[in-house]
Structures are given as structure tokens and as C-alpha cells.
């Protein structure tokens, strides 16, 4: 008896399930972007605090380090009994993981700003807020963008673990493909995951280039 055909790549699968694949891809992408945005909004003030008040930098880095060490599978499990099954649980987990990379890179970026530059700005009468947003932040951008790129790529991969709570984006397709031994479904979801990570990485790199024209000139010179 011949086993039924079970190819790794199948255009037929894609054509028959376009709608579902696109839906899960959209869930995956929006979940990633939302997590990144929230994580950045939390990480930025934390990094500024860690830098301004050295006494708090230990606890801030320590707690984000512990959050990062807790396995994602366990974190979703820890949250599920309280936040239920679904998007919120996955989102909180993703934010928790992106936090450490972002805080660390923002702190490193801010620390790398030349003291002479900040002194000069202060001498010109810049208030601390204006100094932060107009001098320190732009100079810290290379490190911040690097952190965002790492966080984006890891988040795309992590979303798939959301299957544990029934909300894993493309991971949902992988898991169903596993249960029904449908190779094309697993392979399609895997390739789309890698493609999504690549696209986000390139977009962030491009955004970095657009936001930092001075870097381009330096490379050209």
C-alpha cells in the first residue's frame, strides 16, 4: 500500500488555505509589533531611571534579567490561570522578554554618549528633558535600533510558543500541522516566520538609516 503523498512544499495547500494563513500571519505580525511598542514604552523610562539613579539600576536590570530567564513556556503557564487563554497572556509574556534586551541596549546607548557633548549642551542652557530628547537620545540611537532589531527577531520566534495558550499566530499552523502530520502546513508556517523576522529586521535597519543620516555620511567618507 502506498502512503498518501505528504510533500514539504505545496502550492495547493497555500491556495486552499490562503485566508487562514494570511489571518495567522496578520495575528503574528500585529502581536509582535504591539509587544515591541509596549516593551519600548516601558523600557525607555526604566533605562532613563536606571541611568539617572544608579542605585536603582541594579534592581531594574536584575528584575528584567529574571523575567528573561523564566522559560516562555513556563511564563505563559504562570499567566494563563490569571489572564486566561488568548491574546493578553501571550502579549504580556512577549513584553516581558523584550524588556531586558531593550533596557540593556538603551542604557548602553545612553552611557556611550560623550560627556563633553552633554556638558556642552548643559552649558548652552539645555534642560534635562531637552538634553535627553535632543542630544542623548539621537546619539544613543544606534544602540537602541540594534536592541529593537534583536527584540523584534526573538519576539517573532517566541510568538509561536503562544500555542500553549491557544494563540500562537503561525505557531498555531505548525502545531495543527504536527497533529495532523501535514508537512506543507508546518513548512509554510516556518518559512513565513523566518520571512517575517527578516522583513521586520530589514525595516528596522532601514528606519535606523533614515533616522540617522549622519551615520551614512560617516560610512561614505
Amino acid at each position: 500500500m502506498d502512503a498518501p503523498e505528504n510533500p514539504w512544499f505545496s502550492l495547493d495547500y497555500l491556495q486552499r488555505n490562503t485566508e487562514e494563513v494570511v489571518d495567522q500571519l496578520a495575528i503574528h505580525a500585529t502581536l509582535t509589533l504591539q509587544a515591541l511598542a509596549i516593551a519600548f514604552l516601558i523600557a525607555f523610562p526604566l533605562a532613563v531611571i536606571a541611568r539617572r539613579i544608579p542605585r536603582l539600576s541594579g534592581p531594574i536590570m536584575g528584575i528584567s534579567g529574571i523575567l528573561y530567564t523564566i522559560p516562555s513556556f513556563a511564563l505563559f503557564g504562570l499567566l494563563a490561570p490569571f489572564t486566561g487563554i488568548g491574546r493578553t497572556t501571550v502579549l504580556i509574556g512577549l513584553v516581558a522578554y523584550a524588556l531586558l534586551v531593550l533596557v540593556r541596549n538603551i542604557v548602553v546607548g545612553l552611557e556611550g554618549v560623550d560627556r563633553d557633548v552633554t556638558d556642552a549642551a548643559r552649558g548652552l542652557g539645555y534642560t534635562p528633558t531637552r538634553l535627553l530628547f535632543q542630544v542623548e537620545l539621537p546619539l544613543a540611537l544606534p544602540s537602541i535600533i540594534a536592541g529593537l532589531r534583536i527584540a523584534a527577531v526573538t519576539t517573532v520566534a517566541l510568538v509561536t510558543v503562544g500555542v500553549v495558550v491557544g494563540y500562537g499566530g503561525l505557531g498555531q499552523l505548525m502545531f495543527r500541522g504536527l497533529q495532523s502530520d501535514y508537512r506543507a502546513q508546518i513548512m509554510t508556517a516556518t518559512l513565513l516566520c523566518l520571512a517575517l523576522a527578516l522583513v521586520l529586521d530589514l525595516l528596522l535597519a532601514l528606519a535606523g538609516r533614515l533616522a540617522m543620516p549622519w551615520q551614512r555620511r560617516r560610512v561614505a567618507a
Binding site: 513556556f73 503557564g77 510558543v161 502545531f175
Partner: protein
């Protein structure tokens, strides 16, 4: 009873630690496997799977990283490998394995975890070896050491702190990856979480999550100590900055 109360009850019931029929159960082919209803057995299985995965990764990644670092070639390739591995979801690799000839179970999970433990060990071994001050290399060569002696007696000891940092990253990451085994019919502590979710006993989910998190944090603490022990005092600050 509340979820927290259920979790507490689960963790404080002795039978849940020892299992109903001991730590191992016989298999049909005359062998044995870890009992899936015992926390002790699942923890041992978890540690064993993590150890096996890291050992495989070390066996392949360390020689390659040390060699490439010594000849100072292939830096671009190591960066590409670590970037791609970051983008590759663990679940994707596990499900791909399960649907292929490699199949389900612990062996497939160990293999997948080993693949993900490979890049941090490789990258750190490469960075450690290639980062050795060229003056030191030249001084050693000038004193008449062979290239092999330079690699093993000069560069390798100086690279040990970074190699230890890579080992720590890889080990902690592996302990965090192994719980996914539960999704592909493997063992380890993830089983408790997965079973709890499937049976909607959220107290067990919480208890399992606490156990996995505790194991990961304990592993990190142990590896941090090993990393510190492997790092000579003058190099400690540099190693922390690099990790």
C-alpha cells in the same frame, strides 16, 4: 479553591513528587522511562535532556569555534548562524522534526535543543579566541611555541571566560527550551504544564510553571558561579561586560 491554593496543594502532596508507582516505569520493549506522574522523575528527565543537548552542542561547537577563532576566519559565518538561529522558532524545528523521519519524543527534542545551544557556544569560543591580543600571540610565537601550543596554552586559557559565558547562555537557554518537549510527546517538567492546560487544572499549570522557572533560575545561578570560577580575577570585569 483558588488557583494558587490548588498549585500549593499539588506541590505539597508527596505522591505528586514520587509518583504512584515510583520514579521509573517499564516500557514495552523491556527498557524503562521516567514516570510522567512524578515531579522528581520529570525534573531528573529535564536535567538529563538538557545535559545531553548541551553536551552534543559543546562537542561540535567548541572545537569549531576554537579552530576558527585561532585562524581568525569565519567571523561573518558565525554571525549569520547566530542570527538565523534567533529567528528560527524552536517550535518550528520541533514540529519539522516530528513530521520528518526524526520523529517524536525526547531524542528529537534533545537534537533540537542541541541545535539551538550551538550558536552561543560557537560565537563565544570564536570571539574569545580571536579577541586575544595579537602582541601576546606574537610574543608566544617568538619564544618558539608552535601554533598548536599557542592555541592550547596561550589563546585557550585567555578565551576561557568568554567560553564559560557562552556555556552559561547555552545551558540556561536549553533548560528553557526543553519544556516544549511536552508538545511533541517528550518528557521533562513541561509535561506538568501541558497536562494541566489540557485538563483545565490551572493549579497544576501554575505549579509546573513555578517548577520550570525555579529550575531555570537555579541553573542560571549555578552556571554563573561556574563562570566566575572559570574566570581569573583580573578578567572578571571584562567577562561580565561581554556576557
Amino acid at each position: 479553591m483558588s488557583t494558587v491554593g490548588e498549585a500549593w496543594a499539588y506541590l505539597t502532596t508527596w505522591e505528586n513528587w514520587t509518583g504512584a508507582n515510583g520514579i521509573t516505569t517499564p516500557t514495552f520493549d523491556g527498557g524503562w522511562r521516567f514516570a510522567q506522574d512524578s515531579i522528581i522523575a520529570l525534573t531528573l528527565e529535564h536535567i538529563w535532556m538538557s545535559f545531553a543537548a548541551v553536551a552534543i552542542a559543546v562537542a561540535f561547537a567548541l572545537p569549531v569555534g576554537v579552530l576558527l577563532g585561532h585562524i581568525r576566519k569565519g567571523g561573518g559565518a558565525t554571525v549569520v548562524i547566530s542570527n538565523v538561529s534567533r529567528a528560527m522558532p524552536t517550535l518550528a524545528l520541533l514540529t519539522l522534526f516530528a513530521a520528518s523521519a526524526i520523529g517524536f519524543g525526547n531524542r528529537a527534542v534533545i537534537l533540537a535543543a542541541a541545535i539551538f545551544a550551538f550558536p552561543p557556544i560557537l560565537t563565544n569560543a570564536f570571539t574569545g579566541m580571536s579577541g586575544v591580543d595579537p602582541d601576546i600571540r606574537e610574543a608566544a610565537l617568538g619564544q618558539g611555541l608552535t601554533r598548536f601550543q599557542v592555541a592550547t596554552r596561550v589563546e585557550l586559557p585567555l578565551a576561557v571566560p568568554l567560553i564559560a559565558a557562552g556555556l552559561r547562555t547555552a545551558t540556561v537557554q536549553t533548560v528553557a527550551t526543553v519544556p516544549l518537549a511536552a508538545l511533541v510527546a517528550g518528557g521533562g517538567l513541561g509535561v506538568i504544564i501541558n497536562r494541566g492546560l489540557a485538563t483545565q487544572r490551572y493549579g497544576e499549570v501554575l505549579a509546573g510553571a513555578v517548577l520550570v522557572a525555579a529550575l531555570a533560575l537555579a541553573t542560571d545561578a549555578v552556571m554563573a558561579r561556574l563562570q566566575r570560577a572559570a574566570t581569573p580575577a583580573p578578567l572578571r570585569e571584562a567577562a561580565t561586560a561581554a556576557a
